[in-house]
């Protein structure tokens, strides 16, 4: 038993964070450069657990929480999962379809540059062709577009680990998002002065930040445990990943809100970054959400 990062994981984490800082900063989330996707493929993040690379989920979760921290494209989640489970049938970017009941239109997130979309349901993953003549519309999250489409031919996997994998990656994004809001708030609380001192001196603000740190640390611990349980193919893996998703989502949302309060007026502007975290958090709630009933089940 060891829940600390090993040297390789720590090195990958740092390398990811460094690259993101230089090439994919959070502040640029709403207008990523055109060639970005190619870079993400080169970095290997589109298929870390795919045949060939075969890294473990623990390492992948560590890297994905760094990517989530800069609000990296949502399509990375679906693409990484698709490369693990449908390696033979895909090439390039895979968009993320939200669960829908046939024949209701499905909503596809981050469709730009993708030919197929991956739909998550608790029971499995399915891959759908995407029409060429489609329009892209914005979502609440300024970093993410969407399209609508009818049901098309699909291939699927019923491997129980497949939906867990995607849920784990979404949880990692949420944990990263919670981290980002915490750090943004703490940085601002040190920088901004009122009453002749940094606002972080005031306990009313300091304690808001401390609670953000607690939520992020709690969610992060569960994320790492959950990733290990998937690697071990534990019978409890579904429970632990659901717990990680629930805590991650909540931390992202609560921290997103708190971050705006810490920033005061500027936190409400379109120009400043806090709303990007909040809106990403709202979007993540709909991606592979945790099943409350599962959390109450007996095992685990």
């Amino acid at each position: 038993m060891d829940l600390t990062l090993n040297d390789e994981q720590e090195a990958l984490r740092t390398a990811t964070a460094d690259w993101c800082r230089d090439h994919m900063p959070l502040e640029g989330a709403r207008s990523r450069p055109a060639g970005l996707w190619g870079d993400l493929e080169t970095m290997g993040w589109t298929g870390m657990t795919a045949p060939g690379l075969d890294l473990d989920h623990a390492t992948e979760a560590v890297v994905f929480s760094e990517l989530g921290r800069v609000l990296a494209p949502i399509g990375l989640i679906s693409t990484a999962a698709a490369h693990r489970w449908f390696a033979d049938s895909i090439d390039g970017k895979v968009a993320l379809a939200l669960p829908a009941d046939e024949p209701r239109d499905m909503r596809v997130l981050d469709p730009g540059g993708a030919n197929v979309a991956l739909m998550w349901t608790a029971g499995g993953l399915r891959l759908f062709d995407m029409p060429n003549d489609r329009t892209h519309a914005p979502t609440i999250d300024p970093s993410t577009d969407q399209s609508r489409q009818e049901w098309t031919a699909s291939v699927g996997t019923k491997d129980a680990a497949a939906p867990l994998h995607l849920q784990l990656l979404a949880a990692a994004y949420a944990v990263g998002c919670a981290d980002a809001a915490r750090d943004m708030a703490a940085d601002y609380a040190k920088l901004r002065h009122q009453f002749d001192r940094p606002i972080g001196w005031f306990q009313a603000l300091k304690h808001i930040c401390s609670d953000m740190a607690v939520r992020a640390a709690v969610a992060r611990s569960q994320l790492h445990y959950a990733a290990c349980s998937l690697d071990a193919r534990d019978t409890d893996a579904a429970f632990h990943i659901a717990a990680a998703k629930r805590l991650g989502d909540q931390a992202a949302l609560d921290n997103g809100r708190a971050n705006i309060q810490v920033h005061g007026g500027i936190g409400m502007t379109d120009e400043a970054a806090p709303h990007l975290c909040l809106k990403r958090a709202h979007l993540l709630q709909f991606i592979a959400p945790a099943d409350a009933a599962l959390l109450l089940e007996d095992a685990a």
Partner: protein, 383 residues
């Protein structure tokens, strides 16, 4: 990262389970400290004789010299087996002993550690004073140096188990005119020494478990000072790091047991059909899982670096507040039976009332939030 246990650890877990299964006392631990002291001592002695005391303490002083992971395994099985709270042995086992292991002289360790492990010596913690609670550096109890002795005058308050204790972790001012963190010392005080008066205090939950302690020219040999005269603040901080760090593992582990029981109760009485209750329970189920993950992470950190990570303060606060949420839920689930609560009842209401301590004792939730903000996030110090 991995969450598997080694073959040796798994075998160790089985040994723990088997022994506990055969040996956990059928009778409940009495609630009041004065009634429980015999029980606590006897149980600790049994643990010691069977090799379960001081699992990760050095073998030279009566411990087993095993790993902290094995200590955690023991505590997990301990909670599952519904073994009794270690009660009056809490201070000695959880932070007194560990403080001595880290800071004390060979003689001090050789004398005290085996006695703590055998349940022969009960310890209490004399930190808080009427004027020094959250602001611990405001300590006024003073020790005048006379020859090779300290002559102590002053008072302490909220000292758990003082009325049944043999020894005390006493933090006092040994340098006249010193201020705040300077001039303090951490001394081993004999609770049976002349000049000590203990006035027990009753809690709102009914039992008499802590006390006020008065010192009137109490003589303590200078050889009882731990970590050197004037270094009391540093030693006290190591005590608190154990109290707030590894000292809480037992509670963290117990939470897993408690949430499982709450879900069972809510199913049995049908209250789980209330969506709000179901939602809170599922939330706490996730939180309890995360608490275990955090505990494991912190333990891994100890194994790797020799000390708990900076997140220990986060775990401490989260454990305390989650514990209280669990206790509140338990009280909600018993419904109207709450009205019948009487002093002496050992039930969910008792636990709920006692549980208010977890965000007060050992540093309040507010102080913990200051620590997290300042040490983990680097925000400016408020005080």
């Amino acid at each position: 990262m991995d969450i598997g246990f080694s073959v040796e650890e798994t075998r160790f877990r089985e040994e723990c389970r088997d022994w506990l299964h055969a040996n956990v006392p059928a009778e409940k631990r009495p609630l009041d400290a004065a009634d429980a002291i015999g029980f606590d001592k006897a149980w600790q002695r049994r643990l010691f004789d069977a090799g379960w005391a001081g699992i990760n303490w050095p073998a030279d002083y009566g411990g087993r010299g095993l790993s902290i992971v094995q200590q955690v395994i023991w505590l997990e099985e301990y909670a599952k087996a519904h073994a009794p709270w270690i009660g009056a042995n809490f201070v000695g086992i959880n932070h007194g002993g560990p403080t001595l292991i880290l800071n004390a002289s060979e003689e001090q360790k050789a004398y005290h550690l085996p006695r703590i492990l055998k349940g022969e010596a009960i310890w209490c913690q004399g930190f808080s004073e009427p004027g020094a609670g959250s602001d611990l550096a405001g300590i006024k109890t003073r020790g005048r140096i006379e020859g090779d002795e300290l002559v102590v005058n002053g008072s302490k308050i909220w000292t758990s188990f003082a009325h049944v204790a043999d020894w005390q972790e006493l933090v006092l001012r040994t340098e006249e005119g010193s201020q705040r963190h300077a001039g303090l010392s951490w001394a081993i005080c004999d609770m049976h020494a002349p000049g000590i008066t203990v006035r027990p205090i009753r809690k709102m939950s009914g039992q008499t478990e802590f006390a006020e302690v008065f010192y009137d020219d109490v003589r303590i040999p200078l050889s009882n000072v731990v970590g050197g005269l004037g270094n009391g603040w540093k030693v006290a901080m190591s005590t608190l790091s154990f109290e707030r760090g590894t000292g809480f593992i037992a509670e963290q582990v117990k939470a897993g047991q408690e949430i499982a029981e709450l879900v069972t109760t809510a199913r049995a009485n049908g209250m789980i059909k209330d969506d709000r209750i179901a939602d809170q329970l599922s939330q706490m189920r996730a939180e309890v899982a995360a608490l275990r993950a955090m505990t494991y992470r912190n333990i891994s950190e100890v194994v790797r670096t020799g000390q708990p990570g900076p997140e220990a303060s986060v775990i401490r606060l989260f454990t305390a507040e989650l514990g209280q949420r669990l206790e509140r839920m338990a009280v909600l689930l018993i419904g109207e039976d709450l009205i019948d609560f009487a002093y002496g009842d050992d039930n969910a209401v008792q636990d709920y009332l006692r549980g208010f301590a977890s965000t007060i004792a050992g540093g309040t939730a507010q102080i913990q939030r200051d620590i997290i903000g300042e040490r983990l996030l680097g925000l400016p110090k408020s005080r």
